[in-house]
Symmetry: C2
Subunit: 641 residues, 2 copies
């Protein structure tokens, strides 16, 4: 078989590939992470590379302009290799795994997550005493009485007796054969003083590990939110319930597509499911490893991992084919997955430690929503409240202690900076706050305070709201001709220049196009319509909502007034809006810290009624009516402008 050498610059990484391999596939093999929002379908145009040397064959693609072609620009997914080649990967085509250096992580945390942490609601059990204080993993140090003729129960029963807690007689204690095999010798070598690690598991308590001596003070766990775009993990000291560290990194699955649908499709390819599975596990292991090293934690002292994620993410995490979630009637293989050994999924903590997934509700309402409800306490509220989690999908839950109902609106990735011309994730260089003043150039603020590289979700909301207020944009989302000197006709239609190339760290001007605005409008319409329909289904309106929880990385630096101007958030008393940051992560942590919370999460998942919008005729009418800033029915937004 003919093999060619492919070298990627500036990484200077090489790989040998067979004739006719795509550049995207070669990049994956070489460990160069290319942006590929559509999963390699030639649609998103994100995987642009520049051919420096060698022969390739490419599919015609409208995404590449004549000027670009003359510079040697190709889409990596649609171009195959037919000689040794040298390829330049521009910064904007990268998945930016390199931004995971400690400094960059910190920067992103400041930009995107630091605020989330500030407004992160506290672990319920710690504050309001609703959950009992027993974490999913306990370490119990025991000094066993030595056997005598008067007390000759077996070694195992002696251990069980010591570990049993009053009031837990009905909870069976179990352990595995490998621990029993070591037990006799271990107890005697340790002079009958050992520390057992006890995990809650499906109505039982399982002794997962037995160590000599007293190691009670070393008991750690990891709580995760598995997002489609970002994976966030926390290292928690289970003894004092303190968060030792938090890391948020890109989900490496992003190389295979930016949303759950493209990933489900990718999973159908040969080895596709395995690759997606390994990508998420590798990302989690990276967070686990980094946090452990940073805080001097031996991973043998970590015997519990909790995960909250959308249903597709949890399927991929466990290497369960998510195919049927995409097909009517959108049924997942499992909403509640059993507690398994973390090692069975490839997660590297104590080899006998357990993985707990927060149960989900439906194919498009996952454990992240359950965790969010748990974390916000929606299920304990007397009055009706709403939780909106704005991500690639927008999930909405309405209800109180008597009922809970949820829907999922496919907002699309626009709010996460995908599918929009100069969009980017809320990382270093992203414009996140914007003010316009007709007399002077736009005033903007970037994450990290550096030169702008693109626009993130909240930057778009601020920009569009400002353009509306300044009269540059009409309520239908059309940019008015001649309304501003920065308005011009671009390659893809009319656009507004937020930042000229020379002030920016970009190859071209940073612009907002009518097509971008259309994307944002559709996303906000989908979310608004979904929330409206859900409340109407319960014979209510937004004004009946007592608290309006806003979750998601997105929401934490959101200007609520501007979000109302767009019609993304309803026009209600602004004091009702409560930012809860990454409620999936805090719910995941609640579960790790309280077995009662874990049980509660199962009850919540069972209590949430899933409402399928796609079969609700009124939804399309509501959606169409919401394709206007803020809405065609201005009565709903009297306080907006």
């Amino acid at each position: 078989m003919v093999e060619f050498k492919v070298t990627f610059f500036p990484d200077n990484k090489s790989v040998e590939v067979p004739d006719d391999t795509t550049i995207l596939s070669a990049a994956l093999s070489a460990g160069v992470s290319l942006n590929s929002a559509c999963g390699g379908d030639g649609v998103c145009g994100r995987c642009r590379i520049i051919l420096k040397k060698g022969r390739v064959v490419t599919q015609p693609n409208g995404r590449i302009s004549a000027e670009e072609r003359s510079r040697g620009v190709y889409l990596a997914c649609s171009t195959s290799i037919h000689s040794d080649v040298e390829i330049e990967v521009p910064a904007e085509s990268r998945l930016e795994l390199e931004s995971l250096s400690p400094q960059d992580v910190e920067l992103r945390l400041k930009g995107k997550y630091a605020q989330a942490e500030e407004v992160d609601i506290p672990v319920p059990g710690l504050v309001d005493g609703i959950f009992s204080g027993v974490p999913l993993v306990e370490k119990i140090s025991v000094a066993l009485p030595q056997p005598t003729h008067q007390d000759r129960v077996s070694d195992l029963e002696r251990l069980y007796r010591a570990v049993s807690r009053p009031g837990q007689a009905s909870v069976p204690l179990l352990t595995g054969l490998s621990n029993i095999r070591r037990l006799g010798e271990l107890l005697r070598a340790a002079d009958w003083r050992v520390t057992v690690t006890v995990n809650w598991r499906e109505g039982s308590r399982e002794i997962v590990a037995i160590e000599p001596g007293n190691t009670e003070n070393k008991n750690f766990g990891f709580a995760f939110d598995i997002g489609t775009t970002t994976i966030s993990g926390q290292l928690v000291d289970l003894n004092n319930k303190k968060i030792l560290g938090t890391k948020a990194v890109y989900n490496r699955q992003a190389s295979f597509g930016s949303d759950v649908i493209t990933r489900i499709i990718y999973a159908q390819q040969a080895e596709g499911l395995e690759k997606l599975h390994h990508a998420v596990i590798d990302t989690m292991n990276q967070i686990i490893h980094d946090l452990a090293v940073e805080h001097g934690v031996d991973l043998n002292d970590a015997s519990g991992v909790t995960c909250a994620g959308n249903t597709v993410m949890i399927h991929l995490l466990l290497r369960i084919d998510p195919a049927y979630i995409r097909r009517e009637p959108y049924v997942p293989t499992a909403n509640t997955v059993p507690v398994i050994r973390a090692s069975e999924s490839g997660i590297k903590i104590n080899p006998r430690g357990l993985l707990y997934c927060v149960p989900g509700v439906a194919g498009y309402v996952g454990g992240d929503v359950t965790a969010g409800v748990l974390s916000c306490g929606l299920d304990r509220e007397k009055d009706v409240c709403v939780l909106v989690d704005i991500g690639t999908n927008g999930e909405i839950v309405a209800g109180n202690r008597d009922f809970l109902i949820a829907a999922s609106a496919s907002a699309g990735p626009a709010f996460e900076g995908s599918g929009v011309t100069c969009g980017m994730r809320s990382s270093k260089g992203a414009i996140q706050k914007v003010r316009l003043n007709r007399e002077s150039p736009p005033v903007y603020e970037t994450i990290g305070g550096c030169k702008p590289r693109g626009i993130c979700g909240s930057g778009y909301i601020d920009s569009i709201a400002a353009m509306l207020k300044a009269g540059i944009l009409d309520k239908a989302g059309r940019i008015k001709d001649g309304a501003d000197e920065r308005v011009r006709e671009g390659q893809y239609g009319r656009e507004y220049v937020l930042s000229y190339r020379e002030e920016a760290d970009a190859d071209s001007d940073i612009v907002i196009t009518e097509s971008d605005i259309e994307n944002i409008k559709r996303a906000k319409a989908a979310i608004h319509a979904a929330a409206h329909i859900l409340l109407k289904h319960c014979d209510m309106d937004f004004k009946d909502v007592k608290k309006f929880f806003i979750a998601g990385g997105f929401g934490t630096c959101l200007d609520t007034d501007n979000a109302v101007i767009l019609g993304l958030l309803p026009d209600i008393d602004r004091e009702k809006f409560i930012f809860v940051g990454n409620s999936s992560l805090s719910g995941s942590r609640s579960v790790l810290l309280s077995e009662e919370a874990f049980r509660k999460s199962g009850e919540i998942a069972g209590k949430i009624t899933y409402f399928e919008l796609s079969v609700e005729p009124a939804y399309m009418d509501e959606y169409m009516a919401a394709l206007f800033f803020p809405h065609t029915d201005l009565n709903r937004f009297r306080g907006a402008l």
Copy 2:
């Protein structure tokens, strides 16, 4: 390294071994099973072989006479190989694994076990309705409704919903990740008609397997009694609760020692535990394989195995070091072991099938006793009853529905034909029934009706009782000089010739020596004293016992009058004696056929108080007093002679 070729005849099996390897070890490698009651310590003298060719070095050993040495007889365990050698293995030195041909199995079953089956008490659940009818493994065929927008629970919940039984809401249903991973595709490929195999497991129901179509009618299980000497297994149809077949074969561990103590010692050697573990697993797999082939059962349709055995056997089965059972205060590592996957221990049934061990009570009162109590229903009796299980250890349980107390007396292997001059297991050629008449030669009956090869336990009891009645033997166990023409002075003291060499299938005359009688006397004294002390401890006497259950392969062809004459059984109304055969096997089967019986076995094990005879001062006095035929206190045996 120098290697020599060793060839064993008449097998004609060869093996290459390093210089200085023992013949016993070479035989094990070659797959030639030698008798080795003492585990290779040069004590039992059972592993005699004849050197035909080659050079060996042997340890001096009193077990080999000058005449034998001149014929080239050596002990395989104490003789090492120093050239290529050829070795003849006489029939009496074999472990007789070859007797497992179908014909031979049948013969042995007729001799030893056929009667056991006849008197085997029925499964309690089937007869008296005490146990619910749900076996530990159920196969449930379901036709699931296809998901619709109105009914869109996940595949797994859909399956759980169909498998749930009314009234079992509190019993969690579980399954493993491997089943979930296959579920989505399987359900659709099978058009939503599948059969699930559901096993009871530690308070839950676990779906261990999911198959397309309806295979409900194929649901099998295996019940085992793991004896020190013999392993018995039954193939059971779990649907109609019929026993399809029974096999009893020698425990291959016998090559490493005949009693539990020698095996515990052997387990301390390098690889010793592993070898013992594999020996018992291989024996079980042989039974499973043979029964499955005989009855056309696919082992994928067998998802449950139950085992009852003494505590040491269960430790070795699970590869748990039994070392501490031998050390004061004789504490096992575990009396109750968790339900594990059968494959984890090496047992070859359905790869996800489960292994259930009947819980034991103490180091020397194991799950076989628990199973015996369950099977006899001792725990449900109003009046006090006794169960005696006579094996290498004699276990005694006394009690009723209010209390249960048990002790273990180390009877030694004499009743199983070990440690006595012409003793043999109750297999083909064993003298099992004897009558003496001063006027004519002894009348005896052998198993299989062939020429005698040795004497089994019941043969010894009959012989000794007859010798007592005939005045050949006095009550202290001394053979009277000149009392009979068959009495003579032998190499090891005075002896009685039961069968001359020329009438027998043996190298020498079949004799009963004073030393043999001493062994039997000690064994019966140990059992009688233990039973007496146990009853006394409860302020009772044998006359207060309502039913006297006799269990063990031994007991099934026992002449009770003769056993009373020896003082092995108490002198009570003979109608109170109830033969229950292999009560450990029938208890094991009850458990397999009823999850309620399995739970009950745990309750029974918890209810039995273990009584340690070795720390009871009166036991030694009672034992000494019983070293007489039938007893020094003749008042106890007024009806004996």
